[in-house]
Amino acid sequence: MQRRSRLHVPPTPARPGEAPDFSYLQLSEAGAVRRPDVSARAREIGFLSLELVRVLDDKHEARGPWDPHLDAAELEIGLRHMLLTRIFDERMQRTQRAGKISFYMRSLGDEAVAVAQCMALRPGDMLFPSYRNQGLHIVRGIPLVDMMCQLLSNTRDMCKGRQLPVMYHSAAGRLFSISGNLGTQFPQAVGWAMAAAIKGEDHLAASWIGEGASAEADFHHALLFAAVYQAPVILNVVNNQWAISTFQGYAGGEQRSFAARGPGYGIAGVRVDGNDFLAVHAVTQWAAQRARTGAGPTLIELVTYRAAAHSTSDDPARYRAKDDYAHWPLGDPIERLKQHLIKHGGWSEERHRALAAELESLVAASWKEAATYGTLTEGPRLDPDLMFEDVFKEMPLNLQRQREAMRAERNSK
C-alpha cells in the first residue's frame, strides 16, 4: 500500500514551449455514431454521451445517420453567419486594441456552436447565452449596430451603459441578458422552460455554459431541476478546452466527458463535434424535438477549441502551446463548412472571398454608424442620470436624492 501523497493534479497536455498535444481527445469516425429515435429514454442512450457525433468527414463529405440533409441555401446562410461572427469579432478586437472599447471577447473557433444551434431552433425559443455566443445574436438578426452600441456603452446601448461589453440582450429577439457571473443562466433557462410547460406553451429554452463554468453549482441545479420536472430545455456545455488558463481537466473533463453528467441525472447526454456545422445542427434539432414532444431535456457537450485569447485582457502565450489551434484535430468550423459547400453546394473560393468582403463592409459601415452614437471618448454620451433608473421599477426616494447629489457633484467640477 502506498504511503505517499495521492493528490492527483489533472495534467495539461501542452504548456508554452511544448508541442501541441491533443492525444487525450476521444474521437469517433464521422457517421459512426448511431442516431436513436427522439423518443428514446435517457437510460437507453448512454453511448451518445461518450462517443462523438460527427457528420463531416476529413474529405468534407456528410456521413451517417446524423446528416441533417440541409439544403445548400441553408448551409450558405450558416456559413455567412459564422463568417460574419468571425469578421465582427476581428474588427471589435482591433477596435478594443485601438482604445475605442474597454473590453472584448472573441468566439474564434467556437462559431459553429452558436450559429448552427440557433439555426436549429425556432424564433419562439428562449435563449440564455453565455458571453461567448455572439453567433446567437447574429442569427437572431440583432443589428450589428445594436451590438456595437452595447460594446460602446453609448447612447443607443440596449443596456444603458450598465454592462461590460459583450453582455448583450434582446427581449424581442428572445435573447436573455448575459450575466458576468458564470453559470447563473443555466437554472434560469430551466425555470423558463418549466414555466413554458406549466403554461402549456410549445417553446423551449436553451442555454450555454463553458466547460469551465460547468463546475459552478448552477450547472448541478439546472440538470437536477431539468431532470425532476422533465423541462423542455437544451443545456449546452461548450467544451472549448480552456477556462482562461485552466485546462478542461480541472472542470472534470479528464475523468469523463461533460455530456456524461447528463445520464448521471437521467438526462440524455450527447457529445458532438462542435466544429462540425452539420453535426451540431443535427444534434440540436434532435434535442429540440425531444423537448417539444415531452421526451425531456438534453445535455449537449460541444467539443471545440477556444482559438483566441480568453478576452482582450488575456494572453494565452503565458499558459498554452503556441500554434495549438493549427493542430486541433477537429479543424476550423468555417473552413470545414466552406469546403463541404465547395464540394456539394456550388460554393467557391471566389464566392467566399466576395462574401467576406461584403461582410467586412457591413461591419465597417455598422461601426461607422454606431460610433456616431458615441464612443468611450467621443461624441454623445449617455445621461449619467440613467445610473439611478431601473434599480427598481419606480425610483425610491433615496435614489432620487442621490441623483440630485450626483448632479450637484457634476456641476461642482
Binding site: M126, F128, D157, M158, C159, K160, R162, Q163, M167, H169, S170, A171, F176, S177, S179, N181, T184, F186, P187, Q188, A189, V190, G191, W192, A193, M194, A195, A196, I198, K199, A205, A217, D218, H220, H221, A222, L224, F225, V228, E389, D390, V391, F392, K393, P396, L397, N398
Partner: protein, 338 residues
Amino acid sequence: MAQMNMIQALNSAMDVMLGRDPAVVLMGEDIGYFGGVFRVTEGLQRKYGEHRVLDTPIAEGGIVGAAIGMAVNGLRPVAEIQFADYIYPGFDQIASELARLRYRSAGDFFAPVTIRTPCGGGIRGGQTHSQSPEGIFTHVCGIKVVMPSNPFDAKGLLITAIEDDDPVIFFEPKRLYNGPFDGDTNRPAVPWSTHKKGEVPAGHYTVPLGKADIVRAGKDLTIISYGTMVHVAAAAAAAQGIDAEIIDLRSLVPLDADSICSSVKKTGRCVVAHEATRFSGFGAEIVSIIQEECFWDLLAPIQRVAGWDTPYPHAFEWEYFPSQARVAAALKVAMEPA
C-alpha cells in the same frame, strides 16, 4: 372580518393571489402536498394543483434560479425558503441575478419573484433555525425587503409583494406565527385573536411597501422596530411608563425614512430595536439616517437594541433574545436628560 393568525393570513394572501392571477405559482421544499413545515401553504396544492404549487428539490440556489427563469417567462413565483438560515445557498442567484436583472437589462427583463422565509428566534431552534439575515439583503441594491409584525399587515404586504414587479424578500418572524409575543416568557402565550391586527379581511387588499406604520403615537421618544421586536419594545416602553411613539417599519427597502425622521424630530430621542445581531445590522442604517437628518434635534444618543454579535445558541435562547430588559436599558440611556 375573520380572525386569523399569521399563518392563516399568509395562506389567505396566497390563496387570494392564486385565485386571481393564473401567473402566480408557489414553489419550495415540502410546501405542496404537505403544506409546508409551518403549514403556511396548507391546502393550496389540493386547491390549485401540482402545476401551481410545486414541491421542489432541496436546493435553495436552484429554487431561486428556476424562479427567476419562470418569472422571466411571465409567471409570478412565490418561493418559500424553509428557514431564513437556509437562504444562503441561494445568495448568488438573489444578489447577482434577481436583484440586478432589471438594471443590467435596462428594464427589458425583470423577475417579479417573491421569496418568503421564516426568520427569527424564540422557538428553541438553535443557531441554524433562528437567524435574522434581513440586514444583509438591505445592502443588496435592487431587492425589496419586508417583515410584517402581525396578520393584517402580513397578508396585505404579501399580496403587494406578489403584485410588485420588483423582487421582494419577505421575512416572516416565526415566533409571531401563532400570536403576538412581547418577550415575556413567564406569561402564557396569547393568540392573535386577542390583538386587533388579528382581524383580517378574507379577500384581496394591499398594504403598501415603503410605508411605516405608527403603531402608537407618543411624544417622549421614538421606538423604531420591525417584526417581533415591535411587540417587545412596545411592552418594555409601556412597562417603563414612557410615552413612546412606536414605528413598525414593515418594509426595510424601500424605507420610510420620512416617517422615521419626522417622529425623531418631534421626540428628539430614539431607540432602534431588532432581533438580528447588532454589528452591521439594519439598525446601523437607521441610526445613520437619523443622525444625518435629525442631528440638531437629538437630545440623547440613539440606542440600538439587538441580538448579540454571536450565533443564536440553543441553550441561551432567552439570554440571546433582545428582551424587554434589554430594551429597558436602552430606553433609560435614551431618556437621559440632555
